[in-house]
Structures are given as structure tokens and as C-alpha cells.
Subunit: 213 residues, 4 copies
DNA sequence: CATGAATGAGGTTTCATTCAT
DNA sequence: TATGAATGAAACCTCATTCAT
């Protein structure tokens, strides 16, 4: 699942131990999945550390050995998921340097939507939980990374120049993420998701071309 | 504040009384404001019915006379705020029929942003609670009303035709709302808000023109 | 039981409400007695807020309405008991002004021992709990009041002068309290308690006469 | 540190191993010191077996190899410290036989205060834990040994006879220990400690002379 | 033997909701 | 009708103790 990430939270909410052994890694993995499952099946308000531990097949005590409190668990899960998505976007941005603008947009949209869909359950589940526990900071941090990659890519697009590239990218990202959120939260059909891809590309190309001098 | 709304909850959680008397209206009003204040000053996790009642200057018992439970209170507050925003959009849509597309876009964007800013505190505060307690359904319902108004308006735009007007409007709305959310949650400066308006218009025009055949 | 005292704790651990009504007063009273009972029957380590509430015949929630946390409950109980004892001592000191030294000592010893015995259960129970939760500060504060009263009384003793009256009184008090503690904790028989009184008077007279120039 | 003591608990909580090897002795030593440190730095309520083990530089498992449970650890630590103090007193009593009463008192007071001060940290730290887990029994047992030694010594004092020597010694001890406790817990300055010594001698001489027929 | 991850009972505290006054 | 004290289920978290490695 995803890449190898140690459980941890931002700021003073440091993880309590790093899983060097296989058993630990499996435990962390199980806790991550359990969090998503509980979130999806029971809802954000029924997401308790006890329930997560139970579904993960470990004791509460074990959960607290990896995360000092519920807050840090949520942040870690959010970070892990978003990191996955943002890395996909960054990768796409690296690969599309010097390509035409339309190619760039297409690549970024597909990478973003693909990554979201790959863990559609997690995507949807976590929407309900970022606004609690200052998840916004984590979101903001990781989104900035992706935007930086995108800005940097766009500067290599042949024949285009953006007067305010940072805000332009910011808007594009916010629009893309916002639209994807609504579509996924609505439990959209594959057909709708296809529509999302098409229109996101349409919107991106139109907006970026328009914003470019 | 806002228009006259009866406190109520979706589904089976009907309001217990209709505020025909002035005192009732004032109480409902006070509870609404108190909810926003508590949300902003204490955070979503410290939003308790007792605290809301205290800040509203009434007893918990009284609060429960107006709302059968916390859930219904939140839904009512969300509905009240969103209704205000969506009505502003609908009004704009009514007024812009038969105008050029760019005028339409501008009017809708300004109406939306104005309405959000008018109660910026409420907008920001409520982002944190919609995901709890199925607020999404309320959001979806009211958003649909606004989208319907917009679709209807767009059909009167001279010289343009949309192949999939519903999805197009859906995307535009999602993008606009998503971008506004990120900007407001970030506590943006007036300068940033100005930027938001400009680029939202830019994005809307570009996308809708592009989506129109 | 004792005098009328509102439940409260030192510092920021203020009581949550003042019992103006009869029911509240009875509740506070019940909680106080329950704390002593649990302490005596179950021991300090089994003193839980749940158990205290249960024995008091109220719900935990009610307990927390009067004391914001376990700590403040303990401090309040300690304060209440010690206040009772120290007030008895102070009263004795007021009454013995200008009496001979031996009369003074006898009065103070009897007042102290009487007060302790009056709530012997509480005295013994609370020994086990002062060292937790910074009860020492409360003890120190109340002890100081009593010592002040005693110093002031001793200054009126005819024909005696103390070079370091404060420390002398401090020593006498510490010795008296220490001895009483050991005797009571040992579950002493009435005979032993009688012995305690006699020897405390003996010790006090001897020491104070010796310490006086 | 102190004399050679095997780790053990009172009653049925016998030690699991006898530290004949140096490593064991060192471990026991480290655990003892760690307990004091944790007690002083974190407080009695944060005294956990895991924390003690960590500070001692061993694993919890190892700690449990030496002490079957937390209770026995505390008892052992208390015993170790008090034994040190009481042995000092006993030694003094042995040396002062047949000396004048005032010499005896002085020697006992100095031995007691010296021993307490030698491990002032331990003295203060342990006050907070004796009342938990029936430490009183250990205290009572060791105190009795010292009192026996003192009674024996007093019987050799020239020219004095006590009608109730046991209770007299009991009182003197309780007073001395009580006063020392208050002074040390208050974090007294060297000046105060000097005062304590002087007045303890004063008090002891006065009381014992008075109690002797 | 030593280690330290895992366990889970149980402690403290909160808060939505009720109902006697 | 308004009040707010009382309720108690349930959440979060700790920590003594065990046992596989």
C-alpha cells in the first residue's frame, strides 16, 4: 500500500516508535486500513481509537504505541494518503516538462484522478476528517509541494507565459481538487468519473490558456 | 440576518416550533450566531449544545425546545447559511437572463463571493462541520437549486449552446466553491480575495466558452 | 458535619458551582463522606471518581459538576477536614490568651486531639492522600494559620519570652501532628490515645518552657 | 550506596533472585536510583515501571525479574532507604550507652538528621509513596527496631528512670520524624536544617528529662 | 536471561439529553 | 415555558504485566 512511510504526525505529535520490524510494519498498515474502513462504515463521529484498533485486529494499547493520540493518528493517515496523491502529481509534472500545455494539463489531471481513484475509499473517507484536528495544515503543506512542481513544469511550456503563475496554479489546483471532491463524495458512477476527467482537462486547458499572456 | 427561515432539520428531524413570535425569532437568531461564534472561538470539537446555549444567552432546555438534537441544530445552521448564499446566486441568475455569457459569469461569481464574504465568519466556521452529521446532503440539495437556476440562465445566453449543460454547470460550481473554500480557509487578505474574483471570472469564462460548442 | 463550606480547590481548580440549594448542599456533603469511605474501605489507589460518585449515590457527571477533576475533589476534602481541625486550634488559642503556659499547652493539645478524633476516620483516610496532588500546599497553608494563632497566644503568656517563637511553634506543631499521625495510623486504642494526650502535654510543656528564655 | 540489601518485598512477595553477581547488584542499584529520580522529577503519579526501567537503563522485563510487581519494588526501595536511616540511629544508640542523657539525645538527633540529609532526595521522594501500597507496615517495622535500640540505650542512662519508656521513646521518635518530615518537605535551607537540629535536641532533652521521674 | 511489543482492564472526563421545578 | 442539575454511556488514554523472540 502506497510507499513506505513511518507513522508520524506533524509538530509535537511525534510517532512513538519506528517500525523497523516486519510485525510493526504490518501493524501500522493494518491501523491505516482500519481507520479508512471505520471512517467509511461508521462515519467520522463513530471513529474511535478503540474501534480502529479492534478492526485492525490489535489492542488499543498497541495503537497508542504507534500514535500518541487520536489526533496524530488522523494526521498520519491524512498525510499518508495525500502524500501518495501529491507524489503522483509531482511525478507527472517531472515527466511533462517542455511538452505542450495541453499535454501537461492532461497528464496532471489524469495523474491526480488516477491517484484519487486508486484509493477512492480513502479519498472519500478522509474528506470527512481533515477539517477536524487541523488537517488543513497538512493538506496545505502537501498541496504546496504539488503546486510548486506544477509551476515549475508550466514555466517550461513552449510559447506560453503566465503573469501570475503562482495564483494561476493555485486556482487550477483548488478547482480540480474541489470538483473531484464533489464528484467522489457524491459516489459518482464510472461514467461520471469519465466526465470529470474530460471536463477537468477542458477546464484546465481553457483556464490556463486564458491566464497565459 | 439573512431571510426568514424556520429552524428545521432534514428528514424526520422536524423543528418543534415555528417562530411566529418575535421572541422565538430572536432566540433562533441568537442560537445561530452563538453556534458560529462557538465554532470559531472554540473549534468544532468543543461545540457543545450547552456552550451554544450559554453563548446564546438561553438555557440548554430552551435550545432543545427549538432543535430536537445537536444534529438538527447543525443542519439548520448550515442550511440557513447556504440558503443565503444560494439565494444570492439564484437572484443573480434571474437578473442576467439573455445577457452575454461573460456578463452572466461575472454576475454569478460576484454574487457568490459577495454572499460568502458577507458572512465570512460563518462560511469558514461551517466548513468544519458539514462533513459531520451528513451535512453534505443539505449542501447538495441547495447547490442543486443554484445549479438549476444557472442552467436555466445559461440557456438564454445568446449564441452559445452547451452539449452537456448540467455537468458543465456542475463543474463550474464545484470549481468555484472549491477555490473559494481554499482561499477563505487560508484566511486570505483582501488582495487575495480580489485575485479570487478575477481568476474565478477568468476561469468561468474560459471554461464555459470552451465547453460551449 | 463540620461548618458550611463550599466545595472548592486552590488555584485554578475552582469549583464549578456553589451549592445554594439544599439539594446541592446535600450532594456535596454526600460526596465528601463518600470520599472518606472509599479511602478507608478501598485504599488510596482504589479511590476513583466513579467509585466515589457511586458511594455518594450520585452519577459521575454530578460529581464533575461540583469538582472539575479528581485533584480538586481531593484538595477540597483535605481542606475541609484540615480547616475543621485548625479552626478548633485557633479557637483554643483565642480562649487561652493570658493564661499560664501550661494551661495554654493543655488547651491546644486537647483541641487538636479532640478535633482529630471527632473525624478520626477522615484524619486517617486523608493521611494517605495529601502527598498526592500537592495536598502539602493546602496543609502548609492551614497549618500556618494555626501556628500564627498559637504564636500570638504564646506572646501573652505571663512570665515567658521566646527568642525564636516562630520556629519554636513550628517545631511544636510538627511534633504534635507527627506524633498524632503515627498514633492514629497505627489504629491506636483509647488507652493509647489517652497516652498520646498526656505525653503531648508533657512534651509541649517541657519543650516550650525550655525554649523560653 | 547504603549497605548490601537484597531486593525483596514484605509478605508473600518474595524477591525472585538474590544478587550474588556484580551485575545484579549494579542493576538493583540502578533501579533504586531510578525510582528516586522518577519520583522526584515526574511525581508519584507518573512513577511507572516502564519509566523506572528506562531511567535505570534496563528493560521492563528485567525489572520484573528482580521485583515481581510494582508494589514490591516500592516496598523494597522504601525499606532500603529507611533501613539506612534506622541503622544509623541504632549505631548511635550502641555507641552512647552509659553516657549522660543529653549526650544520648544529641547523638541520636544528629545521626537521624545526618542519615536523612545524606539521601535528602530519597527522603523527600519517598514521603510521597509510603502511604500507597501499605508502606506504613515497613516503616513501622523498621521504626520499631530503632526504638528498641533507643530504649535499650536509655536504660543505661545514669540517674534517670522512665516510668513508661516504650511510649516515651515512641513519642520522641514520632515527634522527631514528624518535624524532620515537615522541614525536609518544605525544601528547607541549611539554616532551617540547623535550626531543626538544635530544636530537636532541645525538645528531646526537655521531653525526656520531663518524662523521666 | 534480557528485551520491549502487545495486551486490555480500568481510570478520568465529557456531553447530549431529560425532566423536576 | 424556561431552567439547569442530573444522568450515564462512551470516549480517550495509561500502564502493570506477560511472553515470544
Amino acid at each position: 500500500m502506497y510507499s513506505h512511510m513511518t507513522p508520524h504526525a506533524a509538530g509535537s505529535l511525534e510517532a512513538r516508535k519506528t517500525p523497523v520490524q516486519t510485525r510493526s510494519t504490518a501493524t501500522v498498515e493494518a491501523i491505516f486500513e482500519a481507520t479508512i474502513q471505520v471512517l467509511l462504515r461508521e462515519g467520522a463521529d463513530r471513529l474511535t481509537t478503540t474501534r480502529v484498533a479492534a478492526r485492525a485486529g490489535v489492542s488499543v494499547g498497541t495503537l497508542y504505541q504507534y500514535y500518541p493520540n487520536k489526533h496524530s493518528l488522523l494526521l498520519a493517515v491524512i498525510e499518508r494518503h495525500l502524500n501518495h496523491v501529491m507524489e503522483a502529481v509531482e511525478r507527472a509534472c517531472m515527466e511533462q516538462r517542455h511538452q505542450p500545455l495541453s499535454t501537461m494539463v492532461d497528464a496532471v489531471v489524469q495523474a491526480f484522478v488516477d491517484a484519487k481513484l486508486e484509493r477512492r475509499d480513502a479519498s472519500v473517507a478522509l474528506y470527512a476528517v481533515v477539517s477536524e484536528s487541523g488537517g488543513e495544515a497538512v493538506v496545505a503543506r502537501l498541496a504546496k509541494k504539488a503546486r510548486t512542481a506544477m509551476s515549475s513544469m508550466l514555466k517550461t511550456a513552449p510559447g506560453v507565459h503566465f503573469s501570475d503563475i503562482d495564483f494561476t496554479v493555485f486556482m487550477f489546483f483548488a478547482a480540480m481538487a474541489g470538483a473531484a471532491r464533489v464528484v467522489l463524495e457524491a459516489g459518482a458512477s464510472p461514467k461520471m468519473v469519465e466526465n470529470l476527467r474530460t471536463h477537468l482537462v477542458l477546464l484546465g486547458e481553457a483556464y490556463l490558456n486564458n491566464a497565459a499572456k
